[in-house]
Each structure stands twice: as C-alpha cells, then as structure tokens.
Amino acid sequence: MTTTPQAVRRASPRTRPAATTPDPAHGLLPAGEPVRLLDPTGTPLPAHPDYPEPPAEALSELYRRMVIGRRFDIQATALTKQGRLAVYPSSRGQEACQVGGVLALRDTDWVFPTYRESMALVSRGIDPVEVLTLLRGDWHCGYDPAARRTAPQCTPLATQCVHAAGLAYGEAHQGRDTVALAFIGDGATSEGDFHEGINFAAVFKAPVVYFVQNNRYAISVPLSRQTAAPSLAHKGVGYGVPSEQVDGNDPIAVLAVLTRAVAHARAGNGPFLVEAHTYRMEPHTNADDATRYRDGAEVDAWRDRDPVTRLETYLRDRGVLDGPTAAAVAEEAEAYAADLRARMNTQPAVDPLSLFDHVYASPTPQLVEQREQVRAELAAARDEDGDA
C-alpha cells in the first residue's frame, strides 16, 4: 500500500495545529538534566528559577551533620572490621542525600529508611548505638519507631514505599499535616512495591516524598539492567506524580529540591518523586568486593565530586564557614566517633527469653510452653556450668 504525503500529514500529530489543551504531563516531568546549584568544585552556578538556595544557617547545619555523618560512617566501617558489627552498608559518598533527606523534614514527619540509611538516622538525632542494633545483631530494630517517627530500617526492597503511602494518608485522614519521606535505592525501583507505593500515594493524594538515591548499582548490577527509562525520575509521570532529578553530590541542590518536594506534599498536592544522582564510595557492604564490577577510574572520578568538600569549599568562599568553626565541627565529629566506639566496644546483653516477647500482644499457649522449655534448658546449662 502506498501512502500519499497528505495522508501521512493527517496522521502525524506533529503537523496538527497547536494543541488547545495543555499537555497533561506538563509540570510532572523532571528537568532534562539534574538540578545543580554548585559545580563540582563548589563554585556557585547562576541562581535556579525553581530552587532558591536554602538560608545560610541551614547550610551550616547541613555541613555540620554531613561531617559528623561521614565520621560516623567511617567509624561503623571500622567497627565492622573489628567484628563488632555483623555487616555494614556504608553510605560514604552519599552524605548530601543522607543528611539533606532528613534536614528537609520536621521532627513530626516520618522517615521510611532502608538498610543504607544509618547516616540519615543518626542525622535525625537517633542514638547511633540504637541505629546500629540491627547490624550488630542484638535485635532487629534498636530504636522506638513511634517515638522517633522513623520506621525500622527496611531490608525487603521497596516494601517501605507502600507503608509511607499508608502512613501519610492515615495522618492526613486524622487531620495532621505530617509528610512521609521514603528512601529507596535505584535497583529497588524495579520492585513492584515501588510502583504500588507511588501509585497508591498518587491516587490517594498522600503526602509522601519518594527519594531515590541512584548510586548506580544494586550490589553489582548497574542501572542499565534496572531500567530503560530516560531517568528514574521520569517514572513519576506515569503515575501523575511530579518529579525532579538532582545532582546528589551537590548538597545545596539536594536540600533545595527536597525542601520544595516536602512543601509540595505538605500543601496537600500529593506525592513528589526525587531522584538524586550519586555514588557509594564503599562496596555494597563490607562483605562485597566492588572491584569485580567497577573499576578504579570510575571511583576516582566520583572522588573528585565529593559532596563534603564541595559544600565546605562553597561555605568558606562565601564566608559562612571559617577555620575555627570547621575545626570545631571536626572535633565534634571525633568526639561523636569516640563515644560510639566506646559504647560499641562492650558486649551487648541479650536475653534468650526475650525471644518470646512481642510475637503477639500476649503469648499463645504454645509460646508459653516453648518459653518454659527454653527457660529449663538455660537453667540446666547454668547448673552444669556450676557443677563443672
């Protein structure tokens, strides 16, 4: 069959007269390039029309928490090498996201972290020993999620995305203006629960910020195996969710974008999706060998975009940070690490009989029976020790 040029023209939307209805995707799509307010050396870029720079005090606090966060992360890695932690997933290199994520929130807001977010949680003010409980192995969740408004660190990938939607909707249903921020990794955006969570949040207009830290790998698997989308932020449009991508190693841009996303959610406009382009400098965990899937040159290139150095350079150039203040922050970070080290160097007490607590609000008869059996075993073992 041949087609006349005229038929082609009629079928092609390009040649239609200008649309009178606005593009429904307008305002949902992220910028074509990640939002950036500082260049990689810390030099400010021209002011961004949509993302004003956060106030100087916020940036000083961002810097302080990033320095402490990094020192915490290095300490946790060291504790793992000493056998004090069973495993530790480092977020070194992702400080801007870890700290920016929680700094954009109020204390009354909720955070839904993954296993990667230890730094974000200490930055939220949760006791680092409680944050590391999961990884030390004396219990699963070391802090009180209700009191800290922080869900347990979530390991089943993306499952927290739906909880955030439910929590945020439930808070709004009860007349509270709480925002939920759900962290998620790039790989986990392939899981169904990411899609179900963002879709539920969108349909129910739940105030959630979905914050993807795209550190380019899911253990060893590169982003190209997760998606063919132009960016992970582009996934928002399919759910009717406004989205943005940001340079995740530009702390000022991360805080600016998240501040706007949180305000959008709190104002009752529904969820917002943010993708931060970043990189984890350490292996997936201490148990991983990253040299099997990425080369040193790639890591070195990211070392040059270090978020802490970038912010420090900018703040010093602007006169917001001076030598004594930087030294004081470094000292505070050292003291924080020393305190953590000291408290982690004692063997935690674990009570086998506590295994039966909190399986149900009150134990079933079968659990009472099993508890009694374990209690007798322990008593017998103690007697044997006593006899020996």
Binding site: T159, V162, H173, Y360
Partner: protein, 338 residues
Amino acid sequence: MATTTMAKALNAALADAMADDERVLVFGEDAGQLGGVFRITDGLQARFGDTRCFDTPLAEAGIVGFAVGLAMSGLRPVVEMQFDAFAYPAFEQIASHVAKLRNRTRGALSVPIVIRVPYAGGIGGVEHHCDSSEAYYAHTPGLKVITPATVGDAYSLLREAIADPDPVVFMEPKKLYFSSAEASLPARTEPFGRAVVRRPGRDATLVAYGPAVPVALEAAEAAREEGWDLEVVDVRTIVPFDDATVAASVRRTGRCVVVQEAQGFAGVGAEIAARVQERCFHALHAPVLRVSGLDIPYPAPMLEHTHLPGVDRVLDAVARLQWDDQPDPRWLAEGSAA
C-alpha cells in the same frame, strides 16, 4: 431469632465495628461502591462515606502495605483480598512486615490489621479462585489465623479480629457464605484460642475447621447408622490453637480423624494430627488419621468433587480406626514393601 447468612453476619460485623470505632477503615478491590464481589462490604460506603470504605488500585501488596502504614498512624484497617489465590502478591508484605513488625520493634509498633480472605472451593470456581491457603499464614509466627464455620462465629470472630491488637488473617469459607442459620446479632461466641465441640460423641473425634466442619457434622450424622457415635470439634481459631479442647476430646474418645479441605501435605491437619499424637498417645486406640484434599493443584470445576473430602471419605477413615484391634492393612502393606 431470625435466619441470616454468613455473608450477612460478616457484613453486620463490619458495620457494627465501623459504627463503634471511627478508626476502622474497610477497603479493597471493589469493596466500595459495589460492596465487594461477595457483597460482604455491601452498604458500608453509603453508610460511612468513602473515606471509611473505599476501592483501591488493583494491587494486593499495595493494599496490605497501605494498611501497614495506616495502622502505624493509629488506624484499624480491615482489608479484603478478593480471592484466596489473589492474595499471593501480598505475601511479602504479610510475612515480612505484618507478621513481624511488633516483634522487630520490641512492641513499639503494632499493626492491628484484619486481612479478610475468601478461601477454599466447592463453589464451581474456575482456577485460582478456590485455593486453601491457610497453611501459609498459619506457618507464619506473628499472625493469628481465624476461620469461622457458623453464622454466629462469622459475626463474633470478625468483631474480635477487628478489636484484636495483633494482625489477623480472617479466612472466610466462601462455600459457606450463603449458608444460613438462626442467629441473633450481635452474637458473642467463644473467644480466640477456643475450639468448640459442635457435636458430642463417645467413639471417635473428628477435628475440622472452616469448610470441613459441615462435612464432619454430616459424616457424624451418617455414622450413627454404622453404629458410631462421633464427636465433632470445630477448631475455629487455627492460630492461636486450642490444644486443650482438642486433646480433651480425643482422650475421651480414644480415636481421632482430622478433616480439612486443603491439600494434605504439610498442612494444618498434619500439625493437628501431630499435636494430638504428642498429647494423647496413651489414650489412642488407633493412629490419628487425616482426611484432606488431594495433593494436586485445585482442580477444574467438573472435577472438584473428586478432590473435595466428602462424607464417604471421612467415614472410610473412621472405619480404619482399628475397631476390631486389627492394624490398618495399608500400614502392613507399606511395612512389607520396605
């Protein structure tokens, strides 16, 4: 007393719970305007508004995960899974979060969610609409697993499930939805953790739950002609399980057959048989037998009657309970083959 159906009793339980406690939200696929494909949520949206009873996107993990978040915010979600097999996408949320959150957080978070699952067969349903999935949930510590077999229990156990501080998987035998009985609602029956003797008898105990309870009762009736006086125990609450009532019955009768509609291997009936044997060994005159569905994927409608354990299969099992002190010929055959 008026005659009512199990479906109506469940509907009344939801309505009364919503009226008593504004934290109770009811939602799921078609649960809003339509009232659910089995009409269990009929009229709730009209009465309580669409912020209390509503439709969700078609996504079962989403429904259960959303309920987790709602419960974390202090609400009491009751979710409907449309059919047994369509709850499988939610299994990760159920096993990894619903069941574990209280324990993971040392009691700081509890998720008092009710997950209603219409289950089991006998309704001529095409594939994926008739699974008996109770064992998956019963095998998961942290969940309570409840299954009513009577109209009164349907009401009372569902009210108790909604008020319970723990997550409850509430398994509704769909072939009993339209069974009717005299009942005055609101009914209050025995609480969670109690099995009930539905029919007293002296010669053997039939232990059954959910859709198998009417089968066991019918079998007990038919057994009278053979000269057997059978007791029927309705488990009602699979978790927490009532060892005491079941064991007391078997100690009285000395013989036990466990009846379940689900496929048998590694099922709830296997657990019950083991527990009875552990507790009643010296009172038993015969091995504890199980009558169950076959170990096959749930069959097509025209073949389901072969799969479903019926009265005859139950009576055959009762006949093998060594009434004349002769060992079951099947065990001898297996022994000689070894």
